[in-house]
C-alpha cells in the first residue's frame, strides 16, 4: 500500500507543470471576481468594467496632465481631433487612421463608431448604457474616417460620454455581426490586450495585441482569475500567485495585511461615495428637525476612521464628490448627540423611535457602515432592528421605499449633471405603483429647475455656479448626508509589477481599474 502511495506521489511530482515556461512569458496574474460578460456595453458590474479597459478604447480618454490621470479633462484616443458646430449640437470626429481591431477584424472605421453607439441607443438586448446616449439625435458616416454626431440639444459633457468607459467603448461591427450573442465571450476591440480564452469560474486569459496603436504592451499575457474571497486573494498575493488584487472591500485589516507583506495599494479617485438619503416623504423624516437630528447623531469621522483608517478614504465634503465638475464644499450638521436628542424631542419624539425592520445588504460596505451607524443612532434613541438581506434583495427593497433612509454608494460620469440627475431629480423617485426604479431615495423635488438650466448652459463658469446653487439647496433641505469618498483601490506587488503613476491618487478613473493597463510592466 505504502509503495503504491509513494509511486503515485512520484508520478504526480514529475508531472507538475514546470514554472520556467511561465517565467519566460511575462504574465500578469490578477485576482478579482469573474466578469458577467466581456461585451463592454452590457455590464454594470465593477469587474466587467475593469477588464473591459484592457480590451477596448473610446474616441476620447481621460487626459494625462503633469504625470497624473485626470477625469476633469479628455484627450484624443481613437479620434485624433473633433469640432463642434457653432450652435453646439453637431460634433464631427476625425478618426485616427490605421487603428486595427483584434483578431484580423480590420481597420477601425466610422461605421464601427456609428454601430457601437446605435446598438445602445436602440437598446439592443443586454446593453445597459443607452440612457447615457439619449442625447444623440443621429449619427452620420461622412467618410471612413469621419463621423458626425448630431445631438438633440447642447450637451456640456458629451466628450466625457465619449471616453472609453461604459457607453463610450467602440466595438467591431464586423465581429459583432458575425458572432451575435457569442460576442459576450469573444469580444473584439482595439485595446492593448485581446481576448484569448475563458474557463468559466476559473480564469480569463488575455494576450498582448501587437498592433496596438502606441505599441505592443510589455506584458505578454493577463490571467484574470475568478477569486471571490478577499482572504484568498491576500494569501495569493503573499504566495506570489497573484500580482494584482481587486478587493471586494478595502478595510483597515485588509490594508494592514497588504502593507505587512510589502505590497502597495493603488488608489484612484474619485472612487465611490457612500451616503445616506433621508426620505423626506416618509415619516418621521418628513420633518426637517428629524433629518437634522439624524445628521447630528452620525459621527462621520468615527465611521470613516473605523472602517477606512488612515488614507483609505476621505470624509465627504459634498453630495457631489470632489473630482466631479461642479463640486463645492458643503456644510453638514456636526456630530452632536445632545442636540440630536433635543431636536427629536422638539419634533415630538422625546424617546426617539424604532425602525423595524430596517433592511441592509449583507455585501460590500453596507453591513459594516450600517452597524456603526446603528450604534450611533441608538445613543439618541433611534433604534434600528436590522434585517440583513442579499444584495439583490436590498436593491429591490430600497426601490420599494421600504427603508425610510437609505445607504447607497456608487460612481458615475464625473460631472454634477448626471450625478445629481440620478440621485435628486424628481423623475428618479422610486415608486412601486408606477414601476419607477429610480435612485432618488430622498424623494426630493427641489432642484429640477436648476438641473434643466445647467443642461443648456454653455458657459463653464455659469454652469459651475448653477451646481453650486444646487448644493446650497441640498445643504438647506438636509436630504442627503454623504459619509466618505472611497477611492477605487487595488493591491499590487511592487516587486513584480510597476505603474508609471503615483499609487496615491496618481490616477483618477472610472473603470475600477487602471486607465492605461498597457503601461503596467512586469519587473522580473
Amino acid at each position: 500500500m505504502l509503495r503504491i502511495v509513494v509511486a503515485i506521489l512520484v508520478l504526480v511530482s514529475t508531472l507538475i507543470p514546470h514554472p520556467a515556461d511561465a517565467q519566460r512569458r511575462k504574465i500578469l496574474n490578477i485576482a478579482a471576481k469573474e466578469p458577467d460578460t466581456l461585451d463592454p456595453h452590457s455590464s454594470t458590474l465593477g469587474q466587467s468594467q475593469a477588464i473591459a479597459r484592457f480590451m477596448f478604447r473610446g474616441l476620447t480618454r481621460f487626459a494625462i496632465k503633469d504625470g497624473k490621470v485626470t477625469t476633469a479633462e479628455v484627450e484624443p484616443d481613437l479620434a485624433e481631433s473633433w469640432t463642434l458646430s457653432p450652435e453646439g449640437t453637431i460634433w464631427t470626429f476625425k478618426l485616427r487612421k490605421g487603428v486595427q481591431f483584434h483578431k484580423g477584424f480590420g481597420e477601425l472605421t466610422a461605421e464601427d463608431v456609428k454601430f457601437s453607439f446605435e446598438r445602445q441607443i436602440k437598446k439592443a438586448p443586454g446593453t445597459r448604457y443607452g440612457v447615457n446616449l439619449d442625447v444623440i439625435k443621429s449619427i452620420e458616416v461622412v467618410d471612413p474616417h469621419t463621423v458626425q454626431i448630431a445631438l438633440k440639444s447642447y450637451d456640456a459633457i458629451f466628450l466625457l460620454r465619449m471616453v472609453g468607459y461604459q457607453q463610450g467603448y467602440i466595438v467591431s461591427k464586423k465581429a459583432m455581426e458575425k458572432m451575435g450573442d457569442g460576442f459576450k465571450w469573444n469580444p473584439v476591440g482595439t485595446g492593448p490586450f485581446y481576448f484569448e480564452r475563458h474557463s468559466p469560474r476559473e480564469k480569463i486569459v488575455l494576450k498582448a495585441f501587437d498592433k496596438f496603436p502606441t505599441g505592443r504592451p510589455q506584458i505578454d499575457e493577463v490571467h484574470w482569475f475568478d477569486v471571490p474571497e478577499d482572504a484568498t486573494k491576500l494569501i495569493g498575493l503573499e504566495k506570489g500567485t497573484f500580482d494584482l488584487l481587486y478587493p471586494e472591500v478595502v478595510t483597515c485589516d485588509f490594508d494592514d495585511q497588504v502593507r505587512k507583506m510589502g505590497a502597495v495599494m493603488d488608489r484612484r479617485g474619485p472612487g465611490s461615495q457612500e451616503r445616506f438619503y433621508l426620505d423626506m416623504t416618509h415619516k418621521p423624516f418628513d420633518d426637517i428637525r428629524v433629518r437634522k437630528a439624524f445628521m447630528h447623531a452620525i459621527d462621520r469621522n468615527a465611521i470613516k476612521e473605523t472602517l477606512y483608517c488612515r488614507d483609505l478614504a476621505r470624509v465627504a465634503t459634498s453630495v457631489v464628490p470632489a473630482g466631479y465638475f461642479g463640486h463645492v464644499p458643503m456644510k453638514f450638521p456636526e456630530y452632536n448627540p445632545e442636540l440630536a436628542k433635543k431636536l427629536l424631542a422638539e419634533a415630538g419624539y422625546p424617546n426617539g423611535f424604532t425602525i423595524k425592520p430596517y433592511f441592509i445588504s449583507k455585501s460590500f460596505f453596507y453591513p459594516k457602515v450600517l452597524t456603526l451607524a446603528q450604534e450611533q443612532l441608538k445613543k439618541v434613541g433611534i433604534n434600528l432592528e436590522l434585517q440583513v438581506v442579499e444584495h439583490a434583495a436590498y436593491h429591490d427593497n430600497i426601490r420599494k421605499n421600504l427603508n425610510p433612509f437609505v445607504l447607497y454608494g456608487g460612481t458615475r460620469i464625473t460631472d454634477a449633471d448626471p450625478w445629481l440627475s440620478l440621485f435628486f431629480e424628481s423623475t428618479e423617485i422610486p415608486d412601486p405603483a408606477t414601476g419607477n426604479k429610480g435612485t432618488n431615495f430622498a424623494h426630493y423635488k427641489g432642484i429640477d429647475d436648476l438641473l434643466a438650466a445647467g443642461r443648456v448652459e454653455r458657459d463653464t463658469k455659469k454652469r459651475a455656479a448653477i451646481y453650486h446653487e444646487v448644493q446650497k439647496r441640498l445643504e438647506r433641505d438636509l436630504v442627503c448626508l454623504p459619509l466618505q469618498d472611497v477611492p477605487s483601490q487595488w493591491a499590487r506587488n511592487p516587486k513584480r509589477v510597476s505603474t508609471p503613476f503615483d499609487p496615491n491618487y496618481g490616477e483618477y478613473s472610472l473603470h475600477y481599474s487602471y486607465n492605461y493597463p498597457e503601461l503596467l510592466k512586469i519587473l522580473n
Binding site: R128, V131, K184, W185, S199, G236, A392, D396, K437
Partner: protein, 334 residues
C-alpha cells in the same frame, strides 16, 4: 430486475418534476430581482425595464413556468441570465470538475473511514484503539470543511508551497485530448494535464474526504458491530477460523449492504460538501456555480444545477438499490 429499474425510473419522473417545480417557485419567492442583482447600484429605471423584458421576466408566472417545463423536457434549460452561456453547456463544463472532486474525496473517505470503522468495531471499547479512533471521527465530524480547507491551504500551499492555491487544473485540456484522441498520440502531454489536475485536486479532496471519512467511519463501525454480533460470525469463530478470515470472508461481505446505503448517502453529503470546498479552494464546479447562481438570481442556471443534482441523487440511489442484489443474493426485485 429490468422491470424494477424501469418502475423506479418512472417514479423518478414525478420526483424530478417536483424538485424542478420547487426550485422554480422558490427562486421567484426569494426577494431580489435578477436584473437588480446584475446591475447593482448602477441600475437605472429604464435599464431595469429593458432587462426584465429581454429576459422574459415581465410575462405572467404561469407562462414562465409552462415555458420552463416544456423546454426542460427537451433538455433546453435556457441560457444563464448573467453570463449568457447555454445552461446545459455551462453545466457540462462544470460537471467534470465536481465529479473528480467527489470521486477523489470518496476515495479518501473510503480509504480512511472504512478501515477506521472496522478496526474501531473489532477493538470495541479498547482505550488504545477504539477511543482514539472515535475521537478522530468526532474531530472530523466537528471540523467544518471550510476551516480545514483554509488550514490546509495555509500550511501546504502558502507555507510549504507544495500545492496550488486556487483552480481546478487543466481538466478541460485533458478531456479535450481524450475526446480528440490526442491523449494516445501525445501521452506525455496528456499525463502532464492529468498531473496538473491531480496536483490541484489533492488539497480539496483531502479536506472534503477527511470530513466525510468521519461520517463513513462512524457508519461503518455501526455496520460492523451489527454484523459481528450475528450468529454466523460466532459460528465461524467457534469453528476455529482465524480472526482475519472471519473479518474478510464473513463480516466484510455481509457489511456490504449497509455500506452501500452509506455510499448512497455519501453522494448526497459529498455534493453538498462540494459547495463549500469549491468556494474555499476557488475551484470551478457545480457547487460553487449553484451558490453564485442563487446569489445572482440567475434562475436558469440555478434551476439547471438543481435538476442535475436531483438527477445524480436519484441515479445513485437507483444504482445502490440494484447493487443490493449483487452483493446479497437473497435480495430479489419484483
Amino acid at each position: 430486475m429490468i422491470n424494477y429499474a424501469l418502475r423506479r425510473l418512472l417514479v423518478a419522473v414525478p420526483m424530478l418534476l417536483g424538485a424542478m417545480s420547487i426550485v422554480f417557485f422558490a427562486m421567484r419567492i426569494l426577494p431580489g430581482d435578477p436584473c437588480m442583482a446584475m446591475m447593482g447600484d448602477q441600475a437605472t429605471s429604464g435599464a431595469l425595464a429593458d432587462c426584465s423584458r429581454n429576459l422574459g421576466l415581465n410575462r405572467p408566472l404561469a407562462v414562465q413556468y409552462v415555458d420552463y417545463l416544456w423546454k426542460s423536457v427537451r433538455f433546453d434549460f435556457g441560457s444563464s441570465f448573467r453570463q449568457g452561456y447555454p445552461v446545459s453547456e455551462y453545466i457540462g463544463r462544470m460537471f467534470p470538475h465536481t465529479l473528480v472532486l467527489v470521486l477523489a474525496s470518496a476515495v479518501v473517505a473510503a480509504l480512511v473511514g472504512i478501515p477506521i470503522g472496522i478496526v474501531s468495531a473489532l477493538k470495541r471499547r479498547s482505550p488504545l484503539v477504539d477511543y482514539p479512533l472515535r475521537i478522530f471521527a468526532l474531530l472530523g465530524l466537528s471540523m467544518p470543511v471550510f476551516w480545514l480547507g483554509i488550514l490546509l491551504l495555509i500550511v501546504f500551499s502558502l507555507r510549504l508551497d507544495l500545492f496550488p492555491l486556487i483552480g481546478g487544473g487543466d481538466l478541460d485540456g485533458a478531456l479535450a485530448m481524450l475526446r480528440s484522441g490526442e491523449a494516445f498520440l501525445y501521452p506525455r502531454d496528456f499525463l502532464a494535464a492529468v498531473g496538473d489536475v491531480l496536483w490541484h485536486l489533492a488539497l480539496p479532496a483531502l479536506a472534503l474526504g477527511f470530513t466525510l471519512a468521519a461520517t463513513v467511519s462512524r457508519l461503518s463501525r455501526s455496520a460492523m458491530l451489527e454484523v459481528i454480533s450475528q450468529d454466523y460470525i460466532r459460528t465461524a469463530r467457534s469453528k476455529g477460523q482465524s480472526e482475519r478470515a472471519v473479518v474478510y470472508k464473513h463480516a466484510l461481505r455481509n457489511m456490504m449492504v449497509p455500506l452501500l446505503t452509506i455510499i448512497g448517502l455519501f453522494v448526497a453529503v459529498a455534493l453538498t460538501g462540494t459547495v463549500l470546498t469549491e468556494t474555499v479552494f476557488t475551484r470551478p464546479g457545480l457547487g460553487k456555480m449553484l451558490v453564485d447562481a442563487i446569489g445572482a438570481r440567475d434562475y436558469p442556471l440555478a434551476q439547471g444545477a438543481i435538476t442535475v443534482f436531483t438527477m445524480i441523487i436519484i441515479a445513485v440511489n437507483l444504482v445502490v438499490d440494484l447493487l443490493y442484489a449483487v452483493v446479497d443474493p437473497r435480495i430479489t426485485y419484483r
